[in-house]
């Protein structure tokens, strides 16, 4: 049986594939663990499956009560807002990390450990 795919059903799985390849690429470059890459694969895999086969959501519709398109749009908007908040939290955390790096570097510089090490070696 041949079914016609909408552009949405083509683009979303493609994005998911790119995201999954990217996650495993990061893993190969040792910037992500296998575990994290697996989590990303499951996450994007589910999104791709739902995009291709929206019928799966019938179950969710029954559970959550999201029946109309307006409700679905609202739920999506909330999801996007959550993602934006998460991204901002990460940004704030990165700024905190920068500040921490400066404080740590200052502590090490002030302790003059290089000189202390050389002194110990001379002894």
């Amino acid at each position: 049986m041949i079914t016609t795919l909408t552009p949405y059903q083509i683009i979303v799985p493609l994005v998911a594939v790119v995201a999954i390849v990217y996650a495993w690429n990061l893993m190969l470059r040792q910037r992500k663990s296998i575990w994290e890459s697996c989590l990303w694969t499951i996450f994007w895999g589910l999104i791709a499956i739902i995009a291709i086969e929206p019928g799966i959501l019938t179950y969710l519709t029954a559970v959550t009560g999201i029946k109309s398109q307006v409700n679905a749009a609202l739920a999506t908007a909330i999801g996007i807002l959550f993602f934006l908040i998460f991204s901002m939290i990460i940004r704030i955390e990165e700024l905190e990390q920068r500040l921490t790096r400066v404080i740590r570097a200052l502590a090490i510089r002030n302790a003059e450990l290089g000189e202390r090490h050389e002194e110990k070696d001379r002894r």
């Binding site: 910037r31 575990w35 905190e96 921490t100």
Partner: protein, 226 residues
Amino acid sequence: MTPAPRIVAVLPAFNEASRIGSVIPEAAKAVDAVIVVSDGSTDDTAAVSRRAGAIVLEHIENCGAGAATMTGIEAARALGASIVVTLDADEQHDANEIPRLLAPILDSSADIVFANRFGQRNTIPLVRRVFNHLGNVVTFAATGLWIADSQCGYKAFGPRAVREIAIRMSGYEFCTEIVREAAQRRWRIATVPVKVLYSAYTLAKGQSFANGLRTAFKILLRSFLR
């Protein structure tokens, strides 16, 4: 002949002037040098530590246990340390157990040694047991590695771990990050049961429930959005 490894103890400390003075001499018996990182302390932690013979580094602001530990490890590297032991500055950990913690590293069977407060009979409050177990579950969810006491600050790092470790998380979540490092870099892991000495003082300084939740949230979020 291979030179003997230089072993350094790292004590991250925040306002521990009343306790740290007794921890340093005990730790010094088992290591070549003791480094104290005073993490924005407003009391005499730094002065007391210097008097007790430790090398002191001072954070001008409180950054958290993770940041202080990483500063200590970096300082230890600068001093040429090949093995690093980290322990709490509040007398919670028995410094006399450092040799037991070092044994798996010295016999080259492990790159990192985690102390396990639940591996022997210890008087640990129920709330602490539950929190630590939750910490283990969160750590497992984020790293895929089960460590019996992932949130304990008492650890020993072998030469490979000292060379490779890079903690980026500043707060208490650094314990989970260390497990992540161990999993990702495929360090050989050993666990050693230790004694733990809880007092009203150490319990009061511990993490609150809200802080624990925040830590768990940060760990999961970071591991997912990394």
